[in-house]
Structures are given as C-alpha cells and as structure tokens.
C-alpha cells in the first residue's frame, strides 16, 4: 500500500505520521510537498494523509490558506475519484476549509490549548479507517489543539447525524457521551467525521501518537490496520 503524507509550511506531525505508516504499519509512505501542482500530483497513492501542525501559522483561519495550496487540487481529485483521504488535527481543519467535509472549526470553548488524553467512542466501524475497531469501542487517544471546537449549523448537523457520518465522539472512559468528556465544546461531541461517500475522514485526535507502547498507548493502531486491510481487499 502506498501512502502520501502532504507537507505544508507549518506542518509538524508529518514525520510522526510517516514513521507510523512506514515503521509500524510497514507500508510505503512518501512526503508530498504542498507546492506540487496538477491533478496528477498524487497519482499512484492509495491513501493521502494531511498531517497535524499549524499550516501557514493558522493565519486568517485554521486551515484556510492550506486549503487553497497547489497540492489541494490533487487531493480533491483523489477524493473525487474515491481515493482515501485522512486528515488529522490540522489536516482535519484543512479538509473542512476545503469543503471536502461539512462544517467548520471554532476556538476551543475553554480558550485553552488542550494537550491531553481523551476517550473516543467509535460510532461507525464500517469505514475503511475504522473497520478493525468494534462499534461502540472506546479508544484512548491524545489531542493537542487550541482550535478543535467542531461546529455545523443545525440543518447540516442533522444531515450529518442522519447520514451516520459521525465516526468518533468524545466520551468518558466508560463510553458515555457527556459534556465532561468533551474537551473543546464540539457540537454533539463530534471528534471525527466522514463524507457521505465514506472515503474522506477527518478527526482532531492523533492516532499516530498512540500506535506504539513506548508512547503510552496503542489504540491508534486500529486505524492503520483498517486502512491496510481495506486497501488489500480493494
């Protein structure tokens, strides 16, 4: 399987992400520079990952300038063709700004930068990103963001919920979705969601930071295993 990890000016999780894909999941993984233009820039890749960081210093709005970077033409073409796209943290914000996922991100309700472990409930275990998890499984995954407060207007939100597009919700360790388990104020405790077609996923938490025991947790491994098993079958 061949993964592309897109690098924007200000990305800072691209090495962690590539390390996990290559050294832990044992897959081929390349960096692709943001300035790479043309629809064919990502030809030959099975999955495109937009990593975490602070692309363009979060100027204007988080993800806004990265969403119009030259490489995004190819990311859009890859998604339109049914290719897998995964956005983690800042990568999720970029996908929202690019319109590849519905909704937007606001400043954390607390106004604090939150760097901590959170619990996520797997709402949809049928996606190519989550098929190795069990429905309702609770994962322990770290977050690190100041802008992670997911927002969608009531109509969009009801469409997202009706379409089963919520893939991860913040929850308490036992799996209860409560305000106390929600670290940033996201509406309906949404931590990650997919597009209607199911080939684009964005999430604020960092599965690449919990895929090796030395890092204090391995609950992120299921995502890489899911991607690999879905790509093998495809």
């Amino acid at each position: 399987m061949k993964f592309a990890v897109v690098v924007f000016p200000g990305s800072n999780c691209e090495q962690d992400t590539r390390h996990v894909l290559a050294d832990v999941a044992g897959q081929e993984a390349d960096y692709v520079w943001y300035a790479t233009a043309g629809e064919e820039a990502l030809a030959g890749y099975d999955c495109v990952v937009l990593p975490g960081g602070f692309a363009y210093g979060d100027y204007l709005r988080v993800g806004a300038i990265a969403a119009i970077a030259p490489v995004m033409e190819a990311v859009r073409a890859h998604a339109d063709a049914g290719g897998l796209v995964l956005g983690i943290c800042n990568g999720f914000q970029v996908l929202l700004e690019a319109g590849l996922l519905p909704g937007a991100i606001l400043r954390n309700r607390s106004l604090e930068f939150r760097s901590q472990w959170v619990h996520l409930r797997v709402e949809d275990a049928r996606t190519p990103f989550t098929r190795e998890y069990r429905p309702g499984q609770v994962l322990r995954v770290p977050i690190a963001h100041g802008d992670g407060n997911y927002f969608a207007d009531p109509q969009t939100l009801s469409e997202i919920e009706a379409g089963g597009q919520v893939v991860f919700r913040y929850c308490e360790p036992g799996g209860a979705v409560t305000d106390a388990g929600n670290p940033n104020g996201s509406v309906n405790a949404i931590a990650g969601l997919r597009n209607r077609r199911g080939n684009v996923l964005g999430l604020m938490p960092h599965p690449e930071r919990c895929s090796e025991p030395v890092l204090g947790g391995t609950d992120g491994l299921g995502m890489w295993r899911s991607l690999v098993s879905s790509l093998v079958e495809a």
Binding site: R61, E97, A104, L106, T156
Partner: protein
C-alpha cells in the same frame, strides 16, 4: 482602491473569544457591557477600473478565502483609489489602533 473588510461570526455561532473579552471588560468595571463579538478587520489595496469592479473582486475574495460562509459573515466598504488617500486612511487606522 482600498477595501475595508469586516469579518464577524454569524449570529448564533458561539464566540469564546468574545465571551472572554466581555468578561475582561466587566472585570475592569464596565458593568454595562452586554456582549462582545470578536472578528477580523482587513484592508485590501487593489487595482480596479472603478468601484463596481472593485466591489465584484472583493465580494469574490470574501466568498473564496477571507470569510468562511459556514460560520462567518462579512461587510466591506470601498474608498477612492487615490494612493495618498489610501495611505492616509491606513495611517489613520494604525494611529487609532496605537
């Protein structure tokens, strides 16, 4: 030409920054503060044939980049293209902010 653009969160969209600023003002004793909405102010200098052409360009800029229509709304005014007037307007703004 000079476009002065205001981008603010739509009504109904939670504004944690505005809430914190309102709290700060009350802390300072401004008891009459009923609410604060934080936003962005941008000045765009641009070359355009006339004000209508400038407005068309600025409208497109707001829709495609400067505002996120999911959460924000925008308003702008466009002033004369006289470079000296533009520089003066900017200097005035800088002074007001200082």
């Amino acid at each position: 030409m000079l476009a002065r653009i205001h981008v603010t969160l739509k009504p109904g969209v939670n504004d944690p920054q505005g809430l914190a600023i309102a709290g700060g003002l009350r802390q300072l004793g401004f008891a009459g503060v009923e609410g604060v909405r934080a936003g962005r102010f941008l000045e765009v200098r641009l070359d355009a044939a006339d004000e209508r052409a400038a407005a068309r360009a600025v409208e497109a800029m707001c829709q495609r980049l400067l505002a996120n229509p999911v959460i924000e709304r925008y308003a702008y005014e466009i002033t004369d293209g006289d470079p000296e007037a533009v520089e003066a307007a900017i200097a005035e703004t800088v002074e007001e902010e200082a």
